[in-house]
């Protein structure tokens, strides 16, 4: 009798071993070339900075300290690191605004696609997917062509006589916002569409039958039903916005930095690796917080409906 059990158990063990073997190449590559170095960076954030970049192997909290504070060179007084705080704030503010605006534009768009006849729906979706898969740098560059002083918008406005001087958009926060709005819009539309596509329009019919107006149907029936898509889309836009590097670098010029550029700066001209590492960790922590909120939401939802 015991032999049958032994046999089943050994087959099970063998299966699990085989599956770990199948997983190992992916896990090893990702560990060495993506996840593992994050731990090294955590260590680096607690070291002293080297004179020409790099680190000196001695424990120090200077890196973390200077994320938020700065010490006056002359009288040694402490004050908040205004430059860092303002960059941090700009990153969060612009990311939230990007999320909000992509939603305001993306929701009607996703709804529009989801309510097309089934055959043409795929074509519309394809039109959203194309920009999504084209190079982010090229899209940012294309945006620059549109908003710069000699760009399409200003040329058109001048030609129409609406303005007599080009509007300065490039190298401002507005430019970064436009750029991020442009490059991350598909990331909002796709999950919203996935939710809206599954929407049972008989529920909408039921709401109309019970005297709801169009807006009430939207607010009270459609939006609550596609909330998972709204949250997923917001997360998908917010997280890359927060870590944006290319868009602010190209459209914001040298002045309007975001967190991503500040981090890169520490590994380049700044030559302050521990600070850069600490800033990277701060960004990662912010992302984790956003994800945690998302997971909480998703979990409470599944608890309610599961």
């Amino acid at each position: 009798m015991a032999s049958a059990r032994d046999f089943a158990e050994s087959a099970e063990r063998q299966d699990v071993r085989r599956r770990w073997a199948l997983l190992s190449p992916a896990l090893v590559i990702i560990f060495f070339a993506a996840v593992g170095p994050l731990f090294i960076m955590l260590v680096y954030s607690f070291l002293q900075k080297g004179d020409y970049g790099g680190v000196r192997w001695a424990f120090s909290t200077d890196g973390w300290f200077s994320v938020f504070f700065q010490r006056d060179i002359f009288d040694d007084t402490l004050s908040f690191a205004d430059a860092h705080i303002s960059i941090l704030w700009r990153s969060v503010r612009l990311s939230l605004m990007t999320t909000l605006f992509t939603f305001l534009l993306g929701f009607p768009t996703a709804y529009f696609i989801a309510t097309r006849p089934e055959k043409s729906r795929d074509i519309w979706l394809f039109l959203i997917t194309i920009p999504f898969w084209t190079n982010l740098l090229i899209r940012t560059f294309a945006m620059q062509e549109v908003i710069r002083n000699e760009g399409v918008i200003n040329t058109a406005l001048l030609w129409l006589g609406i303005v007599d001087q080009p509007i300065q958009i490039m190298y401002t926060d507005k430019a970064i916002l436009f750029g991020m709005l442009y490059v991350y819009l598909p990331l909002m539309v796709l999950p919203l569409y996935a939710s809206l596509e599954k929407l049972d329009f008989r529920l909408v019919e039921a709401a109309y039958d019970l005297y709801a107006t169009r807006f009430q149907v939207l607010r009270r029936v459609i939006m609550p039903l596609v909330k998972p898509g709204i949250i997923a889309g917001s997360i998908l836009v917010f997280i890359p916005s927060l870590g944006a590097y290319v868009t602010p670098r190209v459209l914001g010029g040298g002045k309007n930095l975001m967190l991503g550029n500040l981090i890169e700066l520490q590994f380049g001209q700044g030559r302050n690796w521990p600070l850069g590492a600490a800033l990277s960790m701060t960004l990662l922590a912010l992302v984790m917080v956003a994800l945690l909120i998302y997971a909480r939401q998703a979990q409470s939802r599944s608890l309610r409906h599961g």
């Binding site: 009798m1 015991a2 032999s3 049958a4 059990r5 046999f7 089943a8």
Partner: protein, 369 residues
Amino acid sequence: MTGDIVPEKPVRDAIEVRGVSKIFGAGEGRVAALDDVSVSIRENEFFTLLGPSGCGKTTLLRLIAGFDFPTSGQIMLHGEDIAPLPPFKRPVNTVFQNYALFPHMTVAQNIGFGLEMLGRPKAEIEARVAAMLKLVQMEKLAGRRTSQISGGQQQRVALARALAPAPKVLLLDEPLSALDFKLRKEMQIELKRLQHETGITFIFVTHDQEEALTMSDRIAVMSSGRILQVGGPRDIYDHPAERFVANFIGDTNFLPATVLSSAGGKARVKLASGIEIDAPLPAGFTPGSEVTVVVRPEHARLMREASTLNGTVENVVYFGTDTHFHVALDQGRGFVVRQQNARSGEAGVSAGDRVGIFVGDGAAQVLKD
């Protein structure tokens, strides 16, 4: 005893299941899908595992096929323990519930797949595939993709594919459940024919009692991971051993009774109404035991005058071929009588009428519990 034929040659067991248990999960979520099951399936037999969903019938089939391992116990094929054999080394083939036809292959490629895997020569495979196509009358569709044929045709291909390697035992996992009523009736006859022509042992899993009764040589009724009763269709229907079997197969009336005396497998029992009747009695009962007596609706007769049982008609339900009379017995229970609608215009009984119900000798059966 009723329909059993005496075999000319000694029958061998095709499959013997010895004390098999299958436990899924552990700790709190531990579920025994099979609980110490033992059964012998004879050679050339059409054997059916019958039970509601979740009773363990499919699990038992999967253990025989080798898709799962028993937690304990042995499974013998022609007297040989097949537990260590993976499915691809067992001379057993399966017809799956959803057919599991390979979508990227033609009908002929599907049928030939097993022989190809066994490394048979090409000529042999071709001949065998042709023979199988003929057997299930699908010669014309040999080159079709399996997605391009109807459900009934897919069913035939699945059968042909499983029969092609000439397995010792064919396992059928609710193969007819996806078909509509008319096609199902046709395939029932078809399956019987195939079993007869090929002489292969069929183990058939179903939850449909009618299917089981019409097709099987023997039936094992299962519930909650146990086999409750094994026997021929008549046996199972007329002499259910347990309440579950009686309830699951056909409609049944249950009546409480007391054993008065017993002799030679027959007993005199007293019903709650005070009437005494004769009924076959399983072993292990002594006079005075409280038992349950079952009566099939069609084995009782409705009378205008007082009879074995008495009550008031509550409902008359017309079914076309027959009519069900729901009677409220004077002792407070319900009782259903089924009568065939012989001719039209028969003066019927209607709701509210006082009636008697006659239960003849042999119509009642005492349950084991």
